[in-house]
Symmetry: C2
Amino acid sequence: MSKVNLKDKFGLFSEHWTPKIVGELNGQYVKLAKVQGDFLWHSHEEEDEMFLVVKGALTIHFRDRKIDIEEGEFFIVPKGVEHRPEASEETHVLLVEPKTTAHTGTLKTALTVEHLEWI
Amino acid sequence: MSKVNLKDKFGLFSEHWTPKIVGELNGQYVKLAKVQGDFLWHSHEEEDEMFLVVKGALTIHFRDRKIDIEEGEFFIVPKGVEHRPEASEETHVLLVEPKTTAHTGTLKTALTVEHLEWI
């Protein structure tokens, strides 16, 4: 039972596209990620995924459109929907998703981190 | 599938201690609440509750201590733990908790809102 300061936690790591776990509730993890550049197309079969932009701006591409999410905005990607996140500059994102969610979805690639770290 | 701008949503209501639903993922609701003054002691038997302070400052009292949560910080109250939120000035909070969570926990009082509104 301790509080989490987002700015302090973002100060603890610098890697891109490697979410860190900062909280857990009701079978979900709260994660923080620094992102920049392109990520890969993926989907999560059974899991909705929330992206809250804390700093910067995130574009989420879908097969038929894209959505720009600015600081202070969030978007929930429904389960099963293919998406590709992208950020032109370094962006800080808070994620909420089930503990079972793999960040590259059903894909295993060089970008896949098997065991996410608690910070 | 549309994004949510927190500032815009907070601009849509003025009541205190009456969370509004702004999103849903994996059986959880994302809610926004404006709070000021004292709330009541309560607990949620089976549900963890996340409080992210978007503006202002929130104190959560526990029976043995209290925690001050500032803007940009979050705290997760574990299920079963009695707590009493308080804010000396108007504070904006983002909540994540199961759809089944009643905001006054197991109590039904004059403060209890039975059906929370989507905005």
